[in-house]
Amino acid sequence: MARLELTTALLTSAIMTVVVAAHAEERYGIGSPATPAEIAGWNIDIGRDGSNLPPGSGSVERGRVVFSEQCAACHGDNGQGGVGDRLVGGQGTLASPKPIRTVGSYWPYASTLFDYIRRAMPQNAPQSLSNEDVYAVSAYILSLNGVVPANAVLDAKSLAAVKMPNRDGFVSDPRPDVHDR
Protein backbone atom coordinates (compact mmCIF):
# COMPACT_ATOMS: atom_id res chain seq x y z
CA MET A 1 0.00 0.00 0.00
CA ALA A 2 2.76 2.33 1.00
CA ARG A 3 4.59 1.43 -2.15
CA LEU A 4 1.50 2.13 -4.27
CA GLU A 5 1.14 5.57 -2.70
CA LEU A 6 4.79 6.28 -3.34
CA THR A 7 4.42 5.16 -6.93
CA THR A 8 1.38 7.39 -7.33
CA ALA A 9 3.24 10.30 -5.82
CA LEU A 10 6.18 9.76 -8.16
CA LEU A 11 3.89 9.41 -11.12
CA THR A 12 2.03 12.59 -10.15
CA SER A 13 5.33 14.37 -9.75
CA ALA A 14 6.43 13.16 -13.16
CA ILE A 15 3.19 14.34 -14.73
CA MET A 16 3.56 17.72 -13.04
CA THR A 17 7.04 18.03 -14.44
CA VAL A 18 5.77 17.25 -17.90
CA VAL A 19 2.95 19.78 -17.54
CA VAL A 20 5.33 22.49 -16.38
CA ALA A 21 7.73 21.70 -19.20
CA ALA A 22 4.89 21.74 -21.72
CA HIS A 23 3.71 25.05 -20.31
CA ALA A 24 7.19 26.48 -20.59
CA GLU A 25 7.34 25.27 -24.18
CA GLU A 26 4.19 27.24 -24.97
CA ARG A 27 6.35 30.30 -24.93
CA TYR A 28 7.41 31.38 -28.35
CA GLY A 29 10.70 32.97 -27.43
CA ILE A 30 9.58 36.19 -29.11
CA GLY A 31 10.81 39.59 -27.90
CA SER A 32 13.97 40.88 -26.27
CA PRO A 33 14.62 41.43 -22.57
CA ALA A 34 13.70 44.95 -21.49
CA THR A 35 16.76 46.36 -19.74
CA PRO A 36 16.46 48.35 -16.49
CA ALA A 37 17.70 51.44 -18.35
CA GLU A 38 15.07 51.05 -21.08
CA ILE A 39 12.33 50.61 -18.50
CA ALA A 40 13.54 53.58 -16.45
CA GLY A 41 13.33 55.88 -19.46
CA TRP A 42 9.74 54.99 -20.27
CA ASN A 43 8.25 54.11 -16.89
CA ILE A 44 6.98 57.57 -15.93
CA ASP A 45 3.67 56.56 -14.30
CA ILE A 46 3.12 58.00 -10.83
CA GLY A 47 1.08 55.91 -8.41
CA ARG A 48 -1.74 57.52 -6.43
CA ASP A 49 0.46 57.05 -3.36
CA GLY A 50 3.15 59.14 -5.05
CA SER A 51 5.27 56.12 -5.91
CA ASN A 52 7.73 56.71 -8.75
CA LEU A 53 7.74 60.48 -8.21
CA PRO A 54 11.18 61.71 -9.30
CA PRO A 55 13.74 63.62 -7.23
CA GLY A 56 13.55 67.41 -7.24
CA SER A 57 11.15 70.03 -5.98
CA GLY A 58 9.30 73.15 -7.09
CA SER A 59 7.72 76.15 -5.39
CA VAL A 60 4.40 77.90 -5.95
CA GLU A 61 6.42 81.02 -6.71
CA ARG A 62 8.39 79.34 -9.50
CA GLY A 63 5.19 77.68 -10.68
CA ARG A 64 3.54 81.05 -11.19
CA VAL A 65 6.27 81.96 -13.70
CA VAL A 66 6.18 78.62 -15.51
CA PHE A 67 2.39 78.72 -15.66
CA SER A 68 2.32 82.18 -17.22
CA GLU A 69 4.87 81.11 -19.85
CA GLN A 70 3.65 77.60 -20.62
CA CYS A 71 0.03 77.19 -19.56
CA ALA A 72 -1.86 80.48 -19.34
CA ALA A 73 -2.42 80.82 -23.09
CA CYS A 74 -4.85 77.88 -23.00
CA HIS A 75 -5.90 77.66 -19.36
CA GLY A 76 -6.20 81.38 -18.59
CA ASP A 77 -3.99 83.61 -16.44
CA ASN A 78 -5.54 82.27 -13.26
CA GLY A 79 -6.48 78.80 -14.44
CA GLN A 80 -10.02 79.90 -15.24
CA GLY A 81 -9.95 77.98 -18.52
CA GLY A 82 -10.02 78.86 -22.21
CA VAL A 83 -9.17 76.55 -25.07
CA GLY A 84 -7.90 74.27 -22.30
CA ASP A 85 -9.82 73.01 -19.30
CA ARG A 86 -10.70 75.17 -16.35
CA LEU A 87 -8.29 74.20 -13.56
CA VAL A 88 -9.45 76.27 -10.61
CA GLY A 89 -12.53 76.62 -8.43
CA GLY A 90 -15.81 74.74 -8.35
CA GLN A 91 -15.43 73.24 -4.90
CA GLY A 92 -18.88 72.55 -3.47
CA THR A 93 -20.59 72.53 -6.88
CA LEU A 94 -20.49 68.81 -7.73
CA ALA A 95 -23.97 68.09 -6.35
CA SER A 96 -25.46 71.22 -7.93
CA PRO A 97 -27.31 71.41 -11.27
CA LYS A 98 -24.19 73.02 -12.80
CA PRO A 99 -21.19 71.16 -11.41
CA ILE A 100 -17.79 72.72 -12.13
CA ARG A 101 -15.14 70.06 -12.38
CA THR A 102 -11.57 71.28 -11.92
CA VAL A 103 -8.33 70.02 -10.42
CA GLY A 104 -9.44 71.52 -7.11
CA SER A 105 -13.05 70.37 -7.10
CA TYR A 106 -12.81 67.02 -8.85
CA TRP A 107 -9.40 65.36 -9.18
CA PRO A 108 -8.96 62.71 -6.47
CA TYR A 109 -5.14 62.58 -6.41
CA ALA A 110 -2.46 65.28 -6.65
CA SER A 111 -0.08 62.63 -8.03
CA THR A 112 -2.26 62.46 -11.15
CA LEU A 113 -1.68 66.18 -11.70
CA PHE A 114 2.08 65.71 -11.72
CA ASP A 115 1.78 62.61 -13.92
CA TYR A 116 -0.45 64.31 -16.47
CA ILE A 117 1.50 67.56 -16.71
CA ARG A 118 4.76 65.68 -17.14
CA ARG A 119 3.48 63.30 -19.82
CA ALA A 120 1.13 65.52 -21.82
CA MET A 121 1.62 69.22 -21.12
CA PRO A 122 2.09 71.77 -22.50
CA GLN A 123 0.08 70.45 -25.40
CA ASN A 124 2.42 71.92 -28.03
CA ALA A 125 5.55 70.44 -26.40
CA PRO A 126 4.78 67.55 -24.04
CA GLN A 127 7.58 66.07 -21.91
CA SER A 128 9.59 69.28 -22.34
CA LEU A 129 9.34 70.58 -18.74
CA SER A 130 11.97 69.68 -16.17
CA ASN A 131 10.81 67.64 -13.19
CA GLU A 132 11.41 70.74 -11.04
CA ASP A 133 9.09 72.79 -13.21
CA VAL A 134 6.44 70.06 -13.16
CA TYR A 135 6.57 70.13 -9.35
CA ALA A 136 6.36 73.93 -9.46
CA VAL A 137 3.38 74.10 -11.83
CA SER A 138 1.60 71.40 -9.83
CA ALA A 139 2.20 73.43 -6.67
CA TYR A 140 0.91 76.61 -8.32
CA ILE A 141 -2.31 74.98 -9.59
CA LEU A 142 -2.91 73.41 -6.18
CA SER A 143 -2.32 76.77 -4.50
CA LEU A 144 -4.80 78.51 -6.83
CA ASN A 145 -7.31 75.95 -5.54
CA GLY A 146 -6.40 76.56 -1.91
CA VAL A 147 -5.17 73.00 -1.54
CA VAL A 148 -1.61 74.03 -0.62
CA PRO A 149 -0.46 77.37 0.83
CA ALA A 150 1.02 80.12 -1.32
CA ASN A 151 4.50 79.46 0.05
CA ALA A 152 4.41 75.71 -0.55
CA VAL A 153 7.34 73.82 -2.04
CA LEU A 154 6.42 70.39 -3.33
CA ASP A 155 8.64 67.35 -3.70
CA ALA A 156 7.98 63.61 -3.85
CA LYS A 157 7.12 63.40 -0.17
CA SER A 158 4.97 66.51 0.19
CA LEU A 159 3.09 65.98 -3.08
CA ALA A 160 2.24 62.43 -2.02
CA ALA A 161 0.91 63.82 1.29
CA VAL A 162 -1.57 66.22 -0.36
CA LYS A 163 -5.17 65.16 0.23
CA MET A 164 -7.43 66.40 -2.54
CA PRO A 165 -10.89 67.77 -1.62
CA ASN A 166 -12.72 65.18 -3.77
CA ARG A 167 -10.53 62.26 -2.70
CA ASP A 168 -13.52 60.25 -1.50
CA GLY A 169 -15.99 61.37 -4.17
CA PHE A 170 -15.82 58.32 -6.42
CA VAL A 171 -17.94 55.19 -6.36
CA SER A 172 -17.66 51.93 -8.27
CA ASP A 173 -19.76 51.04 -11.31
CA PRO A 174 -23.26 49.88 -10.27
CA ARG A 175 -24.58 49.29 -13.80
CA PRO A 176 -26.92 47.98 -14.99
CA ASP A 177 -28.61 50.75 -13.04
CA VAL A 178 -31.75 51.19 -15.18
CA HIS A 179 -33.68 48.03 -14.67
CA ASP A 180 -35.91 46.09 -16.99
CA ARG A 181 -39.47 47.20 -17.30
Binding site: A34, Y106, D115, Y116
Partner: protein, 425 residues
Protein backbone atom coordinates in the same frame (compact mmCIF):
# COMPACT_ATOMS: atom_id res chain seq x y z
CA UNK B 1 -35.82 62.82 -88.52
CA UNK B 2 -32.09 62.72 -87.85
CA UNK B 3 -30.69 60.94 -84.85
CA UNK B 4 -29.63 64.22 -83.32
CA UNK B 5 -33.08 65.66 -83.70
CA UNK B 6 -34.58 62.60 -82.07
CA UNK B 7 -32.21 62.94 -79.17
CA UNK B 8 -33.13 66.56 -78.77
CA UNK B 9 -36.83 65.84 -78.87
CA UNK B 10 -36.52 63.06 -76.29
CA UNK B 11 -34.42 65.25 -74.04
CA UNK B 12 -36.96 68.02 -74.10
CA UNK B 13 -39.85 65.67 -73.48
CA UNK B 14 -38.01 64.22 -70.56
CA UNK B 15 -37.16 67.62 -69.18
CA UNK B 16 -40.84 68.59 -69.16
CA UNK B 17 -41.63 65.35 -67.37
CA UNK B 18 -38.81 66.03 -64.96
CA UNK B 19 -40.13 69.47 -64.13
CA UNK B 20 -43.62 68.12 -63.58
CA UNK B 21 -42.57 65.20 -61.45
CA UNK B 22 -40.39 67.22 -59.18
CA UNK B 23 -36.74 66.92 -58.35
CA UNK B 24 -36.87 64.23 -55.72
CA UNK B 25 -38.98 61.74 -57.66
CA UNK B 26 -36.92 62.14 -60.77
CA UNK B 27 -33.80 61.33 -58.76
CA UNK B 28 -35.12 57.80 -58.43
CA UNK B 29 -34.74 57.66 -54.67
CA UNK B 30 -37.48 57.52 -52.08
CA UNK B 31 -35.23 58.98 -49.41
CA UNK B 32 -33.25 62.08 -50.13
CA UNK B 33 -29.99 62.22 -48.27
CA UNK B 34 -27.79 65.12 -47.34
CA UNK B 35 -24.58 63.82 -48.76
CA UNK B 36 -25.24 64.70 -52.36
CA UNK B 37 -25.70 61.12 -53.50
CA UNK B 38 -28.94 62.07 -55.19
CA UNK B 39 -27.67 65.15 -56.94
CA UNK B 40 -29.45 65.39 -60.23
CA UNK B 41 -27.74 65.17 -63.52
CA UNK B 42 -29.05 68.14 -65.47
CA UNK B 43 -29.72 66.05 -68.52
CA UNK B 44 -31.51 62.88 -69.52
CA UNK B 45 -29.10 62.00 -72.31
CA UNK B 46 -27.73 59.11 -70.26
CA UNK B 47 -31.18 57.69 -69.54
CA UNK B 48 -33.14 55.12 -71.56
CA UNK B 49 -33.51 54.90 -74.43
CA UNK B 50 -30.19 56.73 -74.87
CA UNK B 51 -26.81 55.11 -74.45
CA UNK B 52 -24.98 56.71 -71.51
CA UNK B 53 -21.84 58.69 -72.24
CA UNK B 54 -19.69 56.42 -70.04
CA UNK B 55 -20.28 53.59 -72.48
CA UNK B 56 -19.11 55.55 -75.48
CA UNK B 57 -15.45 55.93 -74.55
CA UNK B 58 -12.97 53.93 -72.46
CA UNK B 59 -12.84 54.74 -68.78
CA UNK B 60 -9.85 55.45 -66.55
CA UNK B 61 -6.89 53.20 -67.21
CA UNK B 62 -5.45 50.70 -64.77
CA UNK B 63 -3.27 52.49 -62.25
CA UNK B 64 -5.13 55.78 -62.31
CA UNK B 65 -5.85 55.08 -58.63
CA UNK B 66 -3.12 52.94 -57.01
CA UNK B 67 -5.19 53.01 -53.83
CA UNK B 68 -8.86 53.01 -54.77
CA UNK B 69 -11.02 55.89 -53.61
CA UNK B 70 -14.83 56.14 -53.52
CA UNK B 71 -16.76 57.40 -56.55
CA UNK B 72 -16.63 61.13 -57.10
CA UNK B 73 -20.39 61.00 -56.62
CA UNK B 74 -19.86 59.89 -53.01
CA UNK B 75 -17.59 62.76 -52.04
CA UNK B 76 -20.12 63.97 -49.50
CA UNK B 77 -19.76 60.77 -47.49
CA UNK B 78 -17.01 61.82 -45.12
CA UNK B 79 -16.35 61.95 -41.40
CA UNK B 80 -18.66 64.27 -39.54
CA UNK B 81 -16.35 66.84 -37.95
CA UNK B 82 -17.79 69.87 -36.21
CA UNK B 83 -16.58 73.18 -37.63
CA UNK B 84 -16.87 74.95 -34.28
CA UNK B 85 -14.62 72.92 -31.98
CA UNK B 86 -12.42 74.96 -29.63
CA UNK B 87 -9.40 73.03 -30.93
CA UNK B 88 -8.59 70.12 -33.25
CA UNK B 89 -5.60 68.52 -31.48
CA UNK B 90 -7.83 66.91 -28.87
CA UNK B 91 -11.04 66.31 -30.78
CA UNK B 92 -13.33 63.73 -32.35
CA UNK B 93 -14.71 62.99 -35.82
CA UNK B 94 -17.82 60.89 -36.33
CA UNK B 95 -18.78 58.07 -38.65
CA UNK B 96 -21.60 59.06 -41.06
CA UNK B 97 -23.71 56.09 -39.92
CA UNK B 98 -26.75 57.15 -41.94
CA UNK B 99 -24.79 56.86 -45.19
CA UNK B 100 -23.53 53.31 -44.61
CA UNK B 101 -24.90 49.80 -45.06
CA UNK B 102 -23.99 46.53 -43.36
CA UNK B 103 -21.97 46.36 -40.15
CA UNK B 104 -18.38 47.03 -41.26
CA UNK B 105 -17.21 50.63 -41.15
CA UNK B 106 -14.87 51.55 -44.02
CA UNK B 107 -11.45 52.37 -42.62
CA UNK B 108 -11.51 55.94 -43.88
CA UNK B 109 -14.82 56.58 -42.12
CA UNK B 110 -14.03 54.91 -38.79
CA UNK B 111 -14.66 57.39 -36.00
CA UNK B 112 -11.65 59.18 -34.53
CA UNK B 113 -10.88 60.51 -31.10
CA UNK B 114 -7.43 61.63 -30.17
CA UNK B 115 -6.03 63.67 -27.30
CA UNK B 116 -2.73 64.90 -28.70
CA UNK B 117 -3.12 64.74 -32.46
CA UNK B 118 -2.36 61.80 -34.75
CA UNK B 119 1.32 60.83 -34.55
CA UNK B 120 3.29 59.70 -37.59
CA UNK B 121 5.11 56.60 -36.36
CA UNK B 122 7.79 54.68 -38.26
CA UNK B 123 6.95 51.06 -37.46
CA UNK B 124 10.64 50.13 -37.62
CA UNK B 125 11.22 52.48 -34.69
CA UNK B 126 8.15 51.55 -32.71
CA UNK B 127 8.49 49.32 -29.65
CA UNK B 128 6.06 47.72 -27.23
CA UNK B 129 7.47 47.39 -23.73
CA UNK B 130 5.90 44.89 -21.31
CA UNK B 131 7.10 45.27 -17.74
CA UNK B 132 6.03 45.56 -14.13
CA UNK B 133 4.83 42.44 -12.32
CA UNK B 134 6.14 39.97 -14.87
CA UNK B 135 8.87 37.32 -14.69
CA UNK B 136 10.55 38.53 -17.88
CA UNK B 137 10.20 42.20 -18.88
CA UNK B 138 10.22 42.28 -22.68
CA UNK B 139 10.48 44.68 -25.58
CA UNK B 140 8.81 43.79 -28.88
CA UNK B 141 9.36 45.12 -32.37
CA UNK B 142 6.41 45.17 -34.75
CA UNK B 143 8.07 42.23 -36.52
CA UNK B 144 8.04 40.39 -33.18
CA UNK B 145 4.35 41.12 -32.61
CA UNK B 146 3.45 39.84 -36.05
CA UNK B 147 5.30 36.55 -35.38
CA UNK B 148 2.81 35.55 -32.69
CA UNK B 149 -0.13 33.33 -33.72
CA UNK B 150 -2.75 35.72 -35.10
CA UNK B 151 -6.54 36.02 -34.89
CA UNK B 152 -9.16 38.08 -36.70
CA UNK B 153 -12.35 39.17 -34.99
CA UNK B 154 -15.15 41.62 -35.73
CA UNK B 155 -15.90 44.09 -32.94
CA UNK B 156 -17.27 47.58 -32.51
CA UNK B 157 -15.44 50.36 -30.72
CA UNK B 158 -17.51 53.15 -29.20
CA UNK B 159 -16.54 56.36 -27.47
CA UNK B 160 -18.28 56.59 -24.09
CA UNK B 161 -19.53 60.14 -24.74
CA UNK B 162 -21.89 59.11 -27.54
CA UNK B 163 -24.04 61.22 -27.10
CA UNK B 164 -24.05 63.45 -24.02
CA UNK B 165 -27.23 63.89 -21.96
CA UNK B 166 -27.88 67.56 -22.55
CA UNK B 167 -29.20 69.70 -25.37
CA UNK B 168 -28.55 70.72 -28.03
CA UNK B 169 -29.01 67.20 -29.33
CA UNK B 170 -27.68 66.45 -32.77
CA UNK B 171 -29.68 66.47 -35.99
CA UNK B 172 -28.44 63.27 -37.64
CA UNK B 173 -27.71 59.71 -36.56
CA UNK B 174 -24.04 60.59 -36.91
CA UNK B 175 -24.39 63.70 -34.74
CA UNK B 176 -25.99 61.55 -32.05
CA UNK B 177 -24.10 58.26 -32.03
CA UNK B 178 -21.47 58.58 -34.78
CA UNK B 179 -18.73 57.80 -32.27
CA UNK B 180 -19.24 54.07 -32.87
CA UNK B 181 -17.72 52.02 -35.68
CA UNK B 182 -17.08 48.35 -36.36
CA UNK B 183 -14.27 46.51 -38.10
CA UNK B 184 -12.54 43.19 -38.52
CA UNK B 185 -9.40 43.39 -36.41
CA UNK B 186 -6.33 41.21 -36.78
CA UNK B 187 -3.66 40.78 -34.17
CA UNK B 188 -2.57 38.59 -31.28
CA UNK B 189 -4.54 37.81 -28.12
CA UNK B 190 -3.05 39.87 -25.31
CA UNK B 191 -2.98 36.73 -23.14
CA UNK B 192 -0.51 35.11 -25.55
CA UNK B 193 1.88 38.03 -25.15
CA UNK B 194 1.41 38.15 -21.37
CA UNK B 195 2.22 34.44 -21.14
CA UNK B 196 5.46 35.19 -22.90
CA UNK B 197 6.47 37.50 -20.05
CA UNK B 198 4.88 35.46 -17.25
CA UNK B 199 2.45 37.25 -14.90
CA UNK B 200 3.46 37.36 -11.25
CA UNK B 201 1.07 36.71 -8.35
CA UNK B 202 -0.81 39.86 -7.35
CA UNK B 203 -1.02 41.22 -10.90
CA UNK B 204 -4.47 42.85 -11.04
CA UNK B 205 -4.29 45.61 -13.61
CA UNK B 206 -2.34 46.52 -16.73
CA UNK B 207 -1.60 50.15 -17.47
CA UNK B 208 -1.57 50.76 -21.24
CA UNK B 209 0.20 53.80 -22.67
CA UNK B 210 0.07 55.31 -26.16
CA UNK B 211 3.02 56.74 -28.09
CA UNK B 212 1.14 59.94 -28.92
CA UNK B 213 1.72 63.46 -27.61
CA UNK B 214 -0.84 62.77 -24.86
CA UNK B 215 1.03 59.59 -23.81
CA UNK B 216 -2.55 58.53 -23.10
CA UNK B 217 -2.77 56.10 -20.22
CA UNK B 218 -5.56 53.79 -19.08
CA UNK B 219 -5.72 50.94 -16.58
CA UNK B 220 -7.27 47.66 -17.69
CA UNK B 221 -8.46 44.96 -15.25
CA UNK B 222 -6.38 41.80 -15.61
CA UNK B 223 -9.51 39.68 -16.17
CA UNK B 224 -10.21 41.56 -19.41
CA UNK B 225 -6.57 41.27 -20.47
CA UNK B 226 -6.74 37.49 -20.08
CA UNK B 227 -10.16 37.20 -21.71
CA UNK B 228 -10.76 38.73 -25.14
CA UNK B 229 -8.26 41.62 -25.25
CA UNK B 230 -6.07 41.79 -28.36
CA UNK B 231 -3.07 43.66 -29.64
CA UNK B 232 -4.12 44.57 -33.18
CA UNK B 233 -2.13 45.75 -36.15
CA UNK B 234 -4.66 45.37 -38.95
CA UNK B 235 -8.19 46.60 -39.55
CA UNK B 236 -10.43 45.34 -42.33
CA UNK B 237 -7.51 43.55 -43.93
CA UNK B 238 -5.01 46.39 -44.12
CA UNK B 239 -2.65 47.84 -41.55
CA UNK B 240 -4.25 50.19 -39.05
CA UNK B 241 -4.73 53.74 -40.25
CA UNK B 242 -2.69 56.34 -38.33
CA UNK B 243 -5.95 57.68 -36.85
CA UNK B 244 -6.63 54.20 -35.45
CA UNK B 245 -3.28 53.69 -33.78
CA UNK B 246 -0.79 52.64 -36.46
CA UNK B 247 1.19 50.52 -36.02
CA UNK B 248 -0.36 48.89 -32.91
CA UNK B 249 -3.41 49.38 -30.71
CA UNK B 250 -5.13 47.68 -27.84
CA UNK B 251 -8.57 46.21 -28.54
CA UNK B 252 -10.89 45.64 -25.57
CA UNK B 253 -14.17 44.41 -27.06
CA UNK B 254 -17.17 46.12 -25.47
CA UNK B 255 -15.14 48.51 -23.30
CA UNK B 256 -15.32 52.27 -23.82
CA UNK B 257 -13.25 53.46 -26.76
CA UNK B 258 -10.73 55.49 -24.77
CA UNK B 259 -9.38 52.31 -23.16
CA UNK B 260 -8.57 50.78 -26.56
CA UNK B 261 -5.25 52.61 -26.41
CA UNK B 262 -3.86 53.57 -29.81
CA UNK B 263 -0.19 53.78 -30.84
CA UNK B 264 0.37 51.31 -28.00
CA UNK B 265 3.91 51.41 -26.71
CA UNK B 266 3.81 50.16 -23.14
CA UNK B 267 2.00 47.68 -20.93
CA UNK B 268 2.83 47.81 -17.25
CA UNK B 269 1.49 45.04 -15.05
CA UNK B 270 0.54 46.39 -11.63
CA UNK B 271 -1.45 45.67 -8.46
CA UNK B 272 -3.72 48.73 -8.65
CA UNK B 273 -4.89 51.19 -11.32
CA UNK B 274 -2.76 54.17 -12.34
CA UNK B 275 -5.58 56.63 -11.57
CA UNK B 276 -4.46 58.48 -14.68
CA UNK B 277 -6.07 61.73 -15.78
CA UNK B 278 -8.18 59.81 -18.32
CA UNK B 279 -9.71 57.63 -15.61
CA UNK B 280 -10.23 60.27 -12.90
CA UNK B 281 -10.68 63.77 -14.32
CA UNK B 282 -12.24 62.35 -17.51
CA UNK B 283 -14.21 59.20 -18.31
CA UNK B 284 -15.81 59.19 -14.86
CA UNK B 285 -19.58 59.65 -14.62
CA UNK B 286 -20.88 62.47 -12.37
CA UNK B 287 -24.09 61.67 -10.52
CA UNK B 288 -26.72 64.09 -9.17
CA UNK B 289 -25.59 63.52 -5.55
CA UNK B 290 -22.10 64.86 -6.33
CA UNK B 291 -20.36 61.49 -6.40
CA UNK B 292 -18.90 60.13 -9.62
CA UNK B 293 -18.69 56.61 -10.91
CA UNK B 294 -15.19 55.41 -11.72
CA UNK B 295 -14.00 52.52 -13.91
CA UNK B 296 -17.27 52.35 -15.85
CA UNK B 297 -15.91 50.26 -18.68
CA UNK B 298 -18.70 48.42 -20.46
CA UNK B 299 -20.75 50.05 -23.21
CA UNK B 300 -24.34 48.98 -22.59
CA UNK B 301 -26.82 47.88 -25.27
CA UNK B 302 -27.81 50.57 -27.73
CA UNK B 303 -29.48 50.92 -31.12
CA UNK B 304 -30.24 53.64 -33.61
CA UNK B 305 -32.35 53.77 -36.76
CA UNK B 306 -30.04 54.99 -39.52
CA UNK B 307 -32.66 55.11 -42.30
CA UNK B 308 -34.91 56.97 -42.28
CA UNK B 309 -33.07 59.22 -39.83
CA UNK B 310 -32.53 62.88 -39.01
CA UNK B 311 -31.76 65.10 -41.97
CA UNK B 312 -33.27 62.70 -44.51
CA UNK B 313 -36.62 63.08 -46.23
CA UNK B 314 -39.20 60.52 -47.28
CA UNK B 315 -40.24 61.55 -50.77
CA UNK B 316 -43.04 59.05 -51.29
CA UNK B 317 -45.69 57.32 -49.27
CA UNK B 318 -45.74 53.54 -49.35
CA UNK B 319 -43.03 51.03 -48.64
CA UNK B 320 -39.91 52.04 -46.73
CA UNK B 321 -37.44 49.72 -45.09
CA UNK B 322 -36.50 50.92 -41.63
CA UNK B 323 -32.93 49.87 -40.89
CA UNK B 324 -30.37 50.58 -38.25
CA UNK B 325 -27.63 49.28 -35.98
CA UNK B 326 -27.64 47.66 -32.56
CA UNK B 327 -24.76 46.65 -30.32
CA UNK B 328 -23.87 45.69 -26.77
CA UNK B 329 -20.60 45.61 -24.87
CA UNK B 330 -21.95 42.71 -22.86
CA UNK B 331 -22.26 40.27 -25.76
CA UNK B 332 -24.61 39.50 -28.61
CA UNK B 333 -27.73 41.39 -29.56
CA UNK B 334 -30.66 39.08 -28.91
CA UNK B 335 -33.49 41.21 -30.24
CA UNK B 336 -34.23 44.63 -31.65
CA UNK B 337 -37.73 46.04 -31.41
CA UNK B 338 -39.08 48.86 -33.55
CA UNK B 339 -41.98 51.17 -32.79
CA UNK B 340 -43.61 53.31 -35.49
CA UNK B 341 -46.35 54.74 -33.26
CA UNK B 342 -44.45 56.79 -30.72
CA UNK B 343 -43.63 53.86 -28.45
CA UNK B 344 -47.20 52.60 -27.96
CA UNK B 345 -46.41 49.24 -29.57
CA UNK B 346 -43.21 47.42 -30.46
CA UNK B 347 -42.48 44.74 -33.02
CA UNK B 348 -39.41 42.57 -33.64
CA UNK B 349 -37.03 43.66 -36.36
CA UNK B 350 -35.13 41.11 -38.47
CA UNK B 351 -31.46 40.75 -37.52
CA UNK B 352 -28.90 40.32 -40.27
CA UNK B 353 -26.73 37.24 -39.73
CA UNK B 354 -24.13 36.75 -38.50
CA UNK B 355 -24.99 38.25 -35.13
CA UNK B 356 -21.59 38.55 -33.47
CA UNK B 357 -20.65 39.23 -29.89
CA UNK B 358 -19.68 42.86 -29.20
CA UNK B 359 -20.16 43.75 -32.86
CA UNK B 360 -22.56 46.02 -34.69
CA UNK B 361 -25.72 44.15 -35.69
CA UNK B 362 -27.81 45.34 -38.62
CA UNK B 363 -31.58 45.25 -38.15
CA UNK B 364 -34.37 45.79 -40.66
CA UNK B 365 -38.08 46.37 -40.39
CA UNK B 366 -40.54 46.69 -43.31
CA UNK B 367 -42.81 49.70 -43.03
CA UNK B 368 -45.54 51.35 -45.08
CA UNK B 369 -45.65 55.08 -44.52
CA UNK B 370 -49.17 56.44 -44.93
CA UNK B 371 -48.01 60.05 -45.15
CA UNK B 372 -49.11 60.97 -41.63
CA UNK B 373 -46.66 62.34 -39.05
CA UNK B 374 -44.94 59.49 -37.21
CA UNK B 375 -42.44 58.87 -34.43
CA UNK B 376 -40.18 55.88 -35.13
CA UNK B 377 -37.61 54.35 -32.78
CA UNK B 378 -35.72 51.17 -31.99
CA UNK B 379 -34.61 49.48 -28.78
CA UNK B 380 -32.01 46.75 -28.34
CA UNK B 381 -32.11 43.76 -26.02
CA UNK B 382 -28.84 41.89 -25.51
CA UNK B 383 -28.16 38.29 -24.57
CA UNK B 384 -28.03 39.18 -20.87
CA UNK B 385 -31.69 40.27 -21.12
CA UNK B 386 -30.78 43.95 -20.69
CA UNK B 387 -33.08 46.31 -22.59
CA UNK B 388 -32.00 49.71 -23.90
CA UNK B 389 -33.69 52.38 -21.74
CA UNK B 390 -35.40 55.63 -22.66
CA UNK B 391 -33.63 58.94 -22.05
CA UNK B 392 -36.20 59.73 -19.34
CA UNK B 393 -35.37 56.49 -17.53
CA UNK B 394 -31.63 57.12 -17.79
CA UNK B 395 -31.85 60.72 -16.62
CA UNK B 396 -34.06 59.68 -13.68
CA UNK B 397 -31.11 57.65 -12.35
CA UNK B 398 -28.11 59.60 -13.59
CA UNK B 399 -29.25 63.20 -13.98
CA UNK B 400 -28.21 65.42 -16.85
CA UNK B 401 -24.53 65.90 -16.01
CA UNK B 402 -23.38 62.31 -16.27
CA UNK B 403 -21.91 62.98 -19.73
CA UNK B 404 -20.70 59.44 -20.51
CA UNK B 405 -22.44 56.15 -21.27
CA UNK B 406 -25.73 57.52 -22.55
CA UNK B 407 -27.34 54.57 -24.36
CA UNK B 408 -30.88 55.94 -24.56
CA UNK B 409 -33.44 55.07 -27.21
CA UNK B 410 -33.46 57.83 -29.80
CA UNK B 411 -36.71 58.47 -31.71
CA UNK B 412 -36.99 60.17 -35.09
CA UNK B 413 -39.93 62.40 -35.94
CA UNK B 414 -41.33 62.19 -39.46
CA UNK B 415 -43.40 65.18 -40.54
CA UNK B 416 -46.26 65.06 -43.03
CA UNK B 417 -43.90 66.47 -45.66
CA UNK B 418 -41.55 63.53 -45.07
CA UNK B 419 -38.81 65.43 -43.30
CA UNK B 420 -37.08 63.43 -40.58
CA UNK B 421 -35.82 65.16 -37.45
CA UNK B 422 -34.65 64.43 -33.92
CA UNK B 423 -37.62 63.21 -31.88
CA UNK B 424 -36.13 64.47 -28.60
CA UNK B 425 -35.28 67.98 -29.76
Amino acid sequence: MSEQATDKRVREASRRHFLQAGAALASGSAIAGLAGTNALAGSDSNLPPNVPEWMKAPGDSMGSQPYGAPSVHEKGVVKNISKTLPQYISASGRTPLQELDGIITPNGLFYERHHGGVPTIDPAEHRLMLHGMVDRPLVFTMEDIRRFPSQSRIHFIECSGNPVYTKPYGKTASDLVGLVSCAEWTGVPLKTVLDEAGLQPGAKWIVAEGADAAALTRSIPIEKCLDDAMLVYSQNGERLRPQQGYPLRLLLPGFEGNMNVKWLRRLKVVAEPAYSREETSKYTDPMPDGTSREFTFTMEAKSIITRPSGGQKLTTQGFHEITGLAWSGRGKIKRVEVSVDGGKSWQDAALQEPVLTRALTRFRFPWHWDGAPALIQSRAIDETGYMQPTLVELVAVRGLNSFYHNNAIWPWRIDANGEVSNGQA
